[in-house]
Each structure stands twice: as structure tokens, then as C-alpha cells.
Symmetry: D2
């Protein structure tokens, strides 16, 4: 029973097939091949506007280069207190921006609280250079804790950003999971709500290694070719990313895979709700499920072959976890099955 | 006729097959899978000692993280004046080391001249902090200009390094091409001659995207897990690199592919030698061939569908190129054929 | 009435005299002069042990280089949520460490709460490289909000640090003010309580520009000469800093000046306590006094020629400030007089 | 006999007096005082246009922040092969630009050869991102080897820069020495020849610690307040730098001091020309004199109490120095006397 992470899954068959299909023949390197161009054009369709697309190797790279592209001296990026960029990227965003600070903003359920965002932005007086200068806000959709921002919530955040002249970045490592859960279009979930830059992740949802940095305004990405190359993120054989995205975006494969993962998460949540041994931390909206249990239960499940991790509870929710308890994360992926979920359900019934 | 670069080729069939084979099922992410472990063990065999191996996404990343791993405040890395780290990585080595300087050393035929290396090292007096402190020497094998260091030449460089307490890094983007040309073992070409760190490239020789950073002394790589993650170079599904290397190293595939490329380069060089329109810049020893021709010839070949680049001549060889001439590079790869080379031969006869 | 900051004062007469006295003649540059050596030796006496001392140009430089000296890949420094390093250095600590993250820890009255520190450190599992690795804890004494850590509180923090293998840095921009208020020795306030590195400030207490970075364990500072030079912080005529410290430390000048400032702060606090228009935010322990007042009062005082700043209230104390109120800071210095304080007292009576 | 460096001298009496005069009273910190404003206005007069002026702590800081202000991803600054930024700043320029590369250009007598500059710039094809992108050219006046660029030579360099869209920076650590030797105005030596940014040094010519970064186009310096603060280069009591420059620029003190140093250098050069034991490396044009001598002579002079350094010969002049010889530097300063020079003359006669 594999619920450790959606990146424990390999690649979907159609992704593997696409790679095989494009393996032969010569093609211009460094993003100049016809396949690259074709797949880039697909992103224009997807987002219903002309966007600038840059393939990179990891989600951490996508987020870090997004911030590097809006970097300023003394720059500060506001993000949720437990954002991936803070808690899970080993300092990469600060490293790639040469020290632009991540400024944590509190908020329940993994979402930046708009009032807190306004309050924190008020702490930066443009005449007071000592504090540095805000340079961006970043949100994660679906969030680190498996919840979602509604379209209205995204629009509210972006409106605060833009009134301060700040771009809004969206970490979409699980973009597809959010999209199918909200049942909206990519355009609706991004630029129509004021999102400026998206880390568009494919890896967690069935690709081997396919991440794209998408700029809604191509003009704002003019330095990206240098930023990406300097960051050692320019593959020579970029077509191998393009080939993955080609299959991924074909015939809604990506949406089907995300829907599958999300459905399993709902079923798992139901099992937990029914369980006498675990309690659900909050209602999942994508493919991550958080639960609280006694340490003895945690250990029993681990021994029974359930792969899942204990996790740092968010600051805003720490009070929910008692001293002898374990806060844990379960992630479902395209490669999980209903059977597997039900087996886990039986173990915790 | 594709001679633009060996990274215009895609992936060898066996690489693609291996990816397909390993696509299914769950496996621990971030380098902890069984396949990762198995392939890492292959590197121990390959190098005939226990080494530390880290998979990264690009050759630029391998070189940059190699230097980051030996970084010092005010650090200076000595390299050939036209080394890839200087001329082709958009400042990535300096970026990842936060500014460790690359100090160019002159030398003919792409090789650091040992006397020049000694002379440049003499310019650094440990009591004179203003100059900074040497932290490493890096060489490229095969070199940027398609030549090789002999084992003796490597040993001479490493002996200078070690007498100054400096590690020697080898940029092996075309490691296999050098190996088969010298007809020696990986151990012979590296640690037995005093090489400490190797960027072991697979991409240019038939993989999609497979680069490994190899430390001959695993103790010296203790911080690498953090260095790699901070650099956004830790793939989640690392097994997809492992799967490529698994096939690459199986049954000497990598050596066969490199031998093929080298053989074609020799044939191409022969055609150029025989040509009345081109002259060979120097004798190739791996899979890159440099030639000098009139601009009119260059343009005619381009129009005839020969893909190849004009190139900046090395400082030490600039005198060989007349004003109205073009200095050009031809690269052969596993995907080229003898036919293709002969077609080019016919065009320049 | 000047209460804007202690750095609005110039230099004390004795500091100016010392500079004049040492202006003539030749002396070895870059820290090698006899005066440099003599003043460095004074620091040994002061701290009752052999320390390593490095003069730098600003308090921000001292703090940033302190952190640079303990830097690690993916490094994280834990500090108070409103520490000077976070709120007032424009990202310099992250810049000089190339992105080592500052991790905020909550605590009342400007002090890191030890339980919160333990809790935050628990979030870093050495096996989980994604979070980065703690590299130091830094505290400020006197704190940003004019309070003090008692010796026991310092010892408690350092004991947590050392049980995690982390060095403890103390930002002593107002070191003297804390010292005289606690009435202890430098040794007592630092290494005897487990402090490893001190930013020893002279500028705010009567020097022009004299900051020293002091390492209790000289071995841990071996790279500092390169770290300082690379950071453009090595003055050529270092004796001009040495000359300032020479006078500063002579006959307890520094302690007398700090005592004077602290006394005035106590008197100012008394005036505020007696005022019907202002209320004291908390009891001052050094030379900074924080008060809350209506915006109309704030504006009236500004117009009356009182120089002082409105200030961002600490997160932990934000509830104390009503919507229409201003949170403000008053700082006293060696150059203020009792008269000036009483004039302000009269204005707010 | 002190010829080790002009920074072995202390501060001129008038500088010390000015500091004493401005020590009392309160003044706005961080560059906002009336004295700061007044001295900044002096720079406008000096340069005969409105310039932006930023005081910093060291010449290395001035140069590094100049480059940081024109920084680009993958940026490359072209400079002389033995420029101070390469050889004497411990990597600070690369550090502060987070790795913008310094690209050495050869040239005789410490001057960038314009033909070589053109040739090196040609190596950067805007379509070839791998090489990075040129971002500035920097020259030193007077040069590292005590020579000068004529106005025509500066204009020639700047014309090459501007035809490539690059700003020209001038490292003026010894700006005054060049100025009096050429007998021209600051405007003539800088913007009238196309210089865009100047590191204007006062320290080597009689100040304690006074360096200014001067932008001929104030608009190009808009980010400097943040760049300087982030670099820990914003003094709180900036008026202490202003006070130095106030005296320095008063009644041509700075020019008188430089003229004195230069005159002594000429006399010293004459002694060397007359000497049977030393030979002049080249004719000095400012206050640095380079000479070649047998090692035995070098040691005898050192023993006789002559303070001076052996030096790395420039690459272009290495052939002038025989194996058993020492290449040495003598520097004269405002604090040296004719007597001292004649004493040295007697020793080498």
C-alpha cells in the first residue's frame, strides 16, 4: 500500500510510449526542436493566450527560477508559513535568488489569510530600505495540506498583490489535481484570477520528469533563457520533456490521472472518517489526506506495509495534535488502485 | 547530415526500452529506490573502488556542483582558457559557488599546459588574501577541442594539484569517447592518475538525460545531498536516471556507442584532410572535428543541409584562422552513420 | 529632542581625539599594524580568554559574516521573529550566506521562547534533506525591543543550541547597554553562558564606525580573513577602527556611555508612565523605550520637534495597539541629556 | 622608508580635523544628514553635472557594487587581465554579483588593448546563451601598474562599450593621481570620454576611509539604496564619510596630495633609472613605481628598512623578469617626503 508520495509512482504507460516514439532521429538541442515548439504551442491553447514556457528539471527549479525572474535587491517573497518553498526545498529559492527572503504569512488550512497578507505588506514602508522590498507573493494550488484556494480566494490574493505592484506566482506541483477538483479551466484558475507565473508540474501526476515554468506575460520572461541556463536547468535534449508533456496533455490524460488520484483520496478520507483509530485532520480537496493517530497505530500501520510519512503539523493546526500522537500524510497517485485504498481501509476500520 | 552536436541525437533504443521497463510500480523517491542503489553499485564496479555517485540533470549541473562541493571563501578554480565551465555554461559554476572565480590557464590543443599551471598557482601566496585562494583545478576529457590528455598528462596535472593541496576535477561530458580512444579503464583514466571528482556524462552518448557526479573519495561528498537538493538538482523520480544508466552501462553499450562516434570522426577527418576546400585544424582524438574554410564554403555547406556550427577559435590557435575564414566544428554521435559522413565527404571533396 | 536613534549621535570627544592622535605616521595596512594588535589584545582581556577579533564596517556586516562563517548548504538560522537580521538588514544575512534561510521563532518581549525554539528545531529531521539543516541560532542582546535576556535565559538557549550541535551567535549592536543593565562582565554575558560568536557594536554607543566580530573559539574563525575580504569588509587603514576601540574601551568609557543612555531611558519611561497621553508598551531594560499613543498625539509631538519613529509592533504584541494608535520607539544615546528627556516629559505630561 | 602602499599612510591632518569638527550634535543617520547632502552636492560641482553618489566603506565595495548595479543573469564583465577586481579583491566582484564572470582582456602596460577588447566581445553571440552576456567593461585609472589611459584611450574604450550597449566603469582608487598627472578635470576624464560609473577613492590619498560610488546617470542607480544596504555597506553615521570628503575636496586638498605623491614617484623613478642595481620596469605616470632587481638586492633593501613588496609581474610583461630576479612595487603617498625618497636613492645608487 503506497501512500508515501505521488512521486513514488513511475511514469504512465503513455508517457513512456511517447518517449520511445521520439527517441530516434536528430533534433535541434536546447529547446529549439519542432517537438518543443509544438508542445509550447499546446500551452498557448491550454491557457487560452500566448504564454512563455520554459521546461526545467524539478518543481523546486520551477519555483526557484520563477522567483529569480522577479528578483530585486533586498527582495522579499511572501508565502504561506508552511509553503513548499520554505519547508521542502532546502533553501533553493533563497539560493537561486541569492538571498531574497521568504516572508511567512500565517493562514489556516494551508491558505494565506488575506488579512494577514495585508498586515505583513504594511510592515514594508518603501522609504525604509532596511526591511527590504517585497518582490512577489507565491501560493500553492493545491496547497501543501491538500486543500484548495477557490477562484474567489485566488482573485482576492492577486488583488492585494497587484495593488502593491507585486506579481503573483502559483506553485502548481499539483496543478491538475486542483483543476479537476474545482472543475475549471487552466485560464480560469490562473490569469483570469490574476496569477502571473505558474510552476506547472507534470512529474507528480504521471510523468518521469516534466516541469514547466509558464509566464502569462511573455515579456516578463525575457531574461529567462539566461536565468535557466545559468541555473543549469537547460536540458540539451529538451525534446524528452516535450515528449512527456505531449502525451500528458493529449486527450485529457493529465486530467484523467488527476481525477483518479483525487477520487482515491476522497475514498481514503471516508475510510479515515469511519475509523475508530484515526481522525481526519481536515477534509481533503485534492490527492493528499492528513490524519492524526496514536503513535502505536502509526507503528502498526508501518509494520503492516503501509507506506506513508509522519509530517510536521502546520503551525496553525498544531493544537490539534496531542503529545503522544502522530500527524501523518497519505498521498494518492495515478498508480494507486481502489483495492489498495480499501485494504488500508480494512486495516484501520 | 547532422554534425551540429552529439546532443541533437535522441536516445538509444536500449535506453528507451529500459525506461519503459522501469516505468511501472512504486519505488522510493529521491534516490532511495532499489534501482538507484543497484546502479550506484555499478559505478563502484566501474571505477574499481567505492565511490559516491549523485545523479543530476545536466553536465553544467555536474560541473557546477562538483565545484560547489569544494568551495571556499574567495575560492579560485584553475581551468583551461576555453574550458566548457568558462565558455559554455553561462556563468553557472560561478553562480552555484556564489562567485568562486574561474582562473584561465593557457595551453595548446585544449589542454592545460603544466608549466602555465605552475606559474599561475605561484601567483597565489597564502599570506596574500587579496588574491583569493585556489580551491580546485578542472580539466576536460575529451577536451573542448576534441583532443585528449594522455594518462601521463593527467598524472602530471594531478601531481601539481596535490602538491598544492588542490582536488582535481575532470569534466567527462564525453568521458566514454576519451576512454575508448585511449583504450583504458575508468579507474586508469581517473583516480589512478589522481583525479578526485568526475562529471560522468551519459547524455551526449545516447541517454536522454543522465549525468552523474562521481566522488572517488565518498567522505569528501558528505554535504552533497544538501548541495544537490539546494541546487534544485534532486529529481524525485531518480530511478528514471538510474534506468538510463542501467542500460547504458550494460554489456558495454556506452563504449560501443562512443567507439562508433569516434570512428566516424576519424573518417570525417580523413575526408577533410583529402578536401581541397577545408583544412583540418588539428587531428581529432574523440568525436569532435574542427576545420577551417572560406566563408563561401561554410555557407555553401549550410545550404546543402549540413548541420554544423561556426565556432570561436581557441586563443592559442587564433592565428591559424584568416580574416575571411570560418572556424567550424563537426560532432559525430552514436546516431550518425558512415553514409552520412561519406555524403559530407563527397560535398567537400 | 533627538530620540530617533542612537546612531543620530556623532562620535564621543575621546573617540575623535584618538583618531587625531593616530592619524600620523605609517602603519601596516589590512589589520597588521601594532595598534590593531594592541586593541585585539584588549579584547582578550575584556573577554578573559583568547578570542579572534575582526573589525568590520557595520553591524549588518558583523551579523552577516558571523552567519557566513557557520554557513552550510541548505543552512537555516533560527532567530526571533522580529530580529534585526530579519527586519532591518535588507536581506544582507541571506545575501552573504547565499541564501541560508532565517527561520523565525516566536517569543514575547523580543526574546526567543525556549519552548518554541525546541519545537521549531524538532521540525528539522536530519534524514529529511528537503527542509535544509539548522546551522545556528542568533539572539540579540539587548533585544530589538529594549529588553534583555537574563544570564539564565541565555544559558537556556545555548543549551538547546549545543544539544543540537549549533553555535549561538549574539547580536550585540547594543552590547554595552545590556552589560551595564545586567551589571555583569562580558565573559559572563557570553561564553560563560554558551555564546560562541558576538557582534560587538561600538557605533551606536559613541564611535563613528567601529564594529567587531568576536569568536570565542579562534579556531572556528580560520576562514574569516577570506570571508571578510571577499565581503569587501576589510578596511585598508584598519587602525582607524582600532583607534576608536582603543579609546572606547579605555577607562570604561564604553560602560559609562551606556550607563548614561540607559539611565535616560529609565527617566523617559517614567515620564511616559506618568503621561496621560502615552502608555508604555513594556518596561525598558536598556536604551530603547516603546510607547503607544493616538495618532494625533504622535503628530503633535513630531511637530513639536521631537525626533522619534513610529515602528512595526512585534507580532506577539500587536494586540496591544488599537487601530487608530501609533506604536513608537524612542532611543536614548550618550549624546542626549536629562534636560532633553525632561523637555519631552513636559510635552507629554 | 615606507613605499609598501599608499594605504600605510594614516589620515591627513585636515581630514582628522574635519572629523573632530563634525563629531558633536545629532544628525539624521543613513545618509540623510545635511552634511551628507552638502557633500553630495559638491560631487555635482566636481563632475559638472548631476550625479548620484553613494558612500561605501572600501574600494572593493565600490567596485563590487558598481558591477552589482549593472548585473545580468549570466553576466560577464570585461576587464584587464590583471585588474584589481580580478587580482586583489578576493572574489568580491563575483560574490556581490552572485557569480557574474570577470573576463580578462590582455593589454600592455596595464591598459586594455582596444583590439583585444573587440575580439573578446566578438566571442559573445547574443543568440548563444551558453557563453553568457556581456554586462560591463571596467578599466582602472591610474592602472594597476602606475600607468594612465589618455583621454583618447578612454574614449576609444567607451566607444567600443557603447556600440555593444555596455556601460563603462572606471575604478578610480587612485583617481586623483591620474587627474593631476593628465592635468584634466574630473568631467574630462570621465563622462566626457563616455565613462558611466566611477569608483571614486579617497582612502589611498589621505582619508581614513572614504570611498564614493558615482553614477553619471542618476537614473541608472535607482536600486542602489537597496543594493548598498543589502551589501552591508550603508554606514549609519554616514556623515563621518561626508566629513572626510568635505575636507578632502576643500581648496583642492585632494589634488595637492596627489600631486605630491606623483612628484615623489617621478623622483624615485629617476633614482632607479640612475641605479646600477635596479632597472625601471616602465615609466611611471602616477604614484606607483615598478622595478626589477636581483633577489639579493631585494633582500638587502628589505633589511635596510625599506618597506616595499615583491609583486606578480603582469602576464604581458613577464618576459622582462629573469628567473633569479624580483619584480617589485614602490608606492608613494601624501605622507612620504622627498628626504625619504632620496635616502632610498642613496641605498640603490
Amino acid at each position: 500500500m503506497h501512500f508515501a508520495s505521488d512521486n513514488w509512482a513511475g511514469a504512465h504507460t503513455k508517457i513512456a510510449e511517447s518517449l520511445t516514439q521520439h527517441a530516434g532521429g536528430f533534433a535541434a538541442a536546447y529547446g529549439a526542436s519542432e517537438l518543443d515548439k509544438k508542445v509550447e504551442a499546446k500551452f498557448n491553447e491550454l491557457f487560452e493566450r500566448e504564454v512563455a514556457v520554459y521546461f526545467v528539471s524539478t518543481g523546486t527549479a520551477a519555483n526557484s527560477l520563477a522567483l529569480a525572474s522577479v528578483n530585486r535587491p533586498g527582495g522579499v517573497t511572501l508565502c504561506h508559513r508552511e509553503a513548499h518553498v520554505i519547508e521542502d526545498e532546502c533553501g533553493a529559492p533563497e539560493y537561486f535568488t541569492n538571498g531574497a527572503r521568504l516572508h511567512p504569512v500565517d493562514g489556516a488550512a494551508g491558505r494565506i489569510n488575506p488579512e494577514n497578507l495585508k498586515r505583513e505588506l504594511k510592515r514594508f514602508n518603501p522609504a525604509f530600505i532596511h526591511a527590504g522590498q517585497p518582490m512577489a507573493v507565491t501560493i500553492t494550488q493545491s496547497t501543501e495540506v491538500g486543500t484548495l484556494y477557490s477562484l474567489e480566494q485566488i482573485a482576492e490574493i492577486s488583488s492585494i498583490c497587484h495593488s502593491h505592484g507585486l506579481p503573483l506566482h502559483l506553485d502548481g506541483a499539483r496543478f491538475a489535481n486542483a483543476l479537476v477538483s474545482l472543475d475549471v479551466s487552466p485560464a480560469d484558475m490562473t490569469w483570469r484570477q490574476g496569477v502571473d507565473i505558474v510552476s506547472f508540474g507534470g512529474t507528480k501526476n504521471g510523468c518521469w520528469c516534466a516541469e514547466a515554468l509558464v509566464f502569462m506575460n511573455p515579456d516578463s520572461a525575457k531574461d529567462l533563457p539566461f536565468i535557466r541556463k545559468r541555473a543549469a536547468q537547460l536540458y540539451s535534449k529538451t525534446r524528452f520533456v516535450a515528449a512527456q508533456f505531449d502525451a500528458y496533455l493529449q486527450d485529457d490524460l493529465w486530467l484523467d490521472l488527476a481525477r483518479h488520484s483525487n477520487d482515491l483520496a476522497q475514498k481514503l478520507a471516508q475510510h479515515i472518517t469511519n475509523s475508530s483509530q484515526l481522525r481526519l485532520a481536515w477534509k481533503p480537496q485534492a490527492n493528499e489526506v492528513f490524519a492524526i493517530m496514536k503513535r502505536t497505530v502509526f507503528e502498526r500501520l508501518q509494520k503492516a506495509g503501509v507506506h506513508f510519512y509522519d509530517w510536521n503539523p502546520p503551525h496553525a493546526e498544531m493544537h490539534k495534535v496531542m503529545d503522544e500522537e502522530v500527524f501523518a500524510r497519505f498521498v494518492t497517485s495515478f498508480a494507486n488502485t481502489q483495492d489498495e485504498v480499501d485494504q488500508l481501509g480494512a486495516l484501520i476500520a
